[in-house]
């Protein structure tokens, strides 16, 4: 159980900067997800924490102790690989005992702790089995058990669910979350799947192009994205973004979307942001924060209607302003090609600067 502090962490591979200026503290016992598309630097960050890579700049501290130069075997890091890296030529028992034996733990204690861990993970009946040919959820438990038995300070998980069937992922997520509660260990989980991050993590760190963009609880990051990338990356589908012109409408201010309508706003910060780029601003709203209404503020032609079980996704607009909204299945909708008018739920409008993509006005609750 350890607090991890990353300060100005950076990594260059020749002329390519994989990670720059990462500052983050992961609290003791926290489940932190590093979320981002491939190449965003999340795996580089994790490999540096594990000691597989040495940082180019900055420092990594475990409980205030700088671990740079400490070889990976001595960092006390449990690592769960993408494919679990189970020793398939050994039995389940030998896999679990591996770390303890490597440390020269007395035999009786190895046996006791293997039994203990196995029963905690419901692996006891499998102890004598060879580890090849086990099902993927057993492999996941075994991988976690094998690392947990040596009581590592932290657990690192590298996209462990990416090779798992869609149908089985939900089960594995629940199980993983339960395991974390059992072991109460600091966990860092790398993923590109926002759903995994949202369902399991205490906090999410969203990364892109080697930069940390935002850290916060899943709902905080979801509700108050600090920039357009975070806005679009979280959610299924992500936040809708469209450009509009800010104009004075008598006493009030409005953001005008031409043929698509306009919305009135009251935040002066929006005007300030728009002033930076010819009066234009980016408007964002979540697919579930819009509802069809007779005389809605916004109008879009219906493009495509996608019913997926419990919900219906309506694809609207044109390629420049592709909008998706989620409605209940029973909702009456116009036909494809016809115009749907909708209202945005009050309070869920978000604005971003055009050039920088930075959020306007609202701040997230917790920063770094």
């Amino acid at each position: 159980m350890t607090e991890i502090r990353l300060s100005n962490l950076g990594k260059d591979f020749a002329s390519f900067t994989a990670l720059a200026d990462m500052n983050m503290t992961i609290a003791d016992g926290e489940f932190m997800a590093l979320l981002g598309p491939s190449g965003c630097g999340k795996s580089t960050t994790m490999n540096m924490i594990a000691g597989m890579l040495e940082p180019t700049t900055g420092s990594i501290e475990f409980d205030g102790r700088d671990v740079r130069g400490v070889p990976m075997a001595r960092r006390g890091v449990g690592f769960v690989f993408q494919n679990y890296a189970i020793f398939t030529h050994m039995t389940v028992w030998d896999n679990l005992a591996y770390g303890l034996k490597a440390r020269g733990t007395p035999r009786a204690e190895v046996a006791r702790r293997v039994e203990e861990t196995a029963s905690l993970l419901q692996l006891s009946p499998l102890l004598k089995r060879r580890a090849s040919g086990l099902s993927v959820n057993i492999l996941q438990r075994l991988a976690i058990g094998r690392s947990a038995i040596v009581e590592p300070a932290i657990f690192l998980l590298d996209e462990p669910l990416s090779n798992v069937d869609a149908a089985f992922r939900a089960v594995m997520r629940t199980e993983l979350k339960q395991l974390q509660r059992q072991f109460k260990q600091t966990m860092i989980y790398v993923t590109h799947d926002q759903l995994e991050a949202m369902t399991m993590a205490d906090r999410i760190a969203v990364m892109d192009h080697g930069k940390l963009l935002q850290v916060g609880t899943p709902l905080d990051v979801y509700n108050n994205p600090q920039n357009t990338f975070v806005a679009g990356f979280l959610g299924s589908p992500g936040m809708n973004l469209m450009q509009g012109h800010v104009r004075q409408d008598g006493s009030s201010t409005a953001v005008d979307f031409g043929a698509h309508g306009s919305i009135t706003v009251s935040d002066t910060a929006i005007e300030a942001a728009a002033a930076k780029s010819d009066g234009r601003v980016q408007f964002g709203f979540r697919p579930e924060a819009a509802a069809p209404s007779q005389d809605g503020a916004l109008r879009f032609p219906v493009n495509f209607i996608e019913r997926i079980g419990s919900r219906t996704i309506v694809h609207l607009g044109d390629p420049d302003n592709a909008i998706k909204i989620i409605v209940a299945n029973q909702t009456e909708l116009p036909r494809v090609g016809e115009v749907l008018s909708l209202d945005i739920t009050k309070g869920s409008e978000r604005f971003f600067e055009i050039e920088s993509g930075q959020a306007v006005g609202r701040q997230s609750d917790g920063l770094h």
Partner: protein, 314 residues
Amino acid sequence: MNTIADITDTVQKTPADRPNDEGHLGLWLSLPAQLLVLFIAVFPILMQIYISLTDWSPLDGIGWWRAWELWNSFANYTDLAQDNRFWSALLRTLLVMVVCVPVEFLLGLGLAVLFVDEFPGRRFLYSVLLIPMMVVPAVAGYMFFMLFQSGGPINDILAFFVGQPVKIAWLSDPDLALIAVMVADIWQWTPLMFLILLAGLVGVPEDQQRAATLLGASWWRRFITIVLPRMKTIMIIALAIRVIENFKIFDTLFIMTGGGPGVATETISVYIYKVTQQELIWGYVAAIALAILITLSIVSAYAIRHVSSPEADT
């Protein structure tokens, strides 16, 4: 999986799925080839069994097919059981194998471990290491014949270290000659071990090794518990190849010592050569050859069974 998106293009060439017709057609089409293989593999063995049961020699002036006229039943085999020269040749061959193969294996493995990681000059050294394997064995024999002369370079080098002239008669001393022969074999065949084992080493999954490291395993423990077990299949193949090859050791040795001095370096192959060429009792030779063939077959069968057993997973 097929690599062509358009599957109908590829299946065009295969007949429709009618297993029975296909089975018979296959048999008929491959019959000539099967007969040929049968002839090549089985005929010489049958011929040998036949001759091994006779006293036939080319000097007798009758064709081999008439060897039955000199039928002696199992006399060749009973002679063989009492032939001291044969048994000492066999023991000597096994001694060479027991020394050379493990040394080649350990040297090859050690080199392979060194060459798994990148270091400056790796590619160049890699090519240099493979040279001995490419040298024609007869040439290698001649090279070591020169090197081990009593006035040759090996004694000169020893003299440099000892500080006084060394005049060891490597090839004419009955004890030392065998050592010289072994050195030549190890020099020539370590590279093959190295090459096979390096391929095996590269194939050990890297994340398994990392996982072991992160669990606190030392380099040595990782090597013993992860790397070696995962190389089991390839190690067995490498050892089987060398055991079989080494049993047949002949050319290098024959040029260096001719099996001498006396019979001091006479291995099974050299012995067979001498019996064949000098004593010309071919019925007896056939018996020796068969005995060896059976021994080697048992060894290979054992090795193959191990390699293909489900235990040797990847």
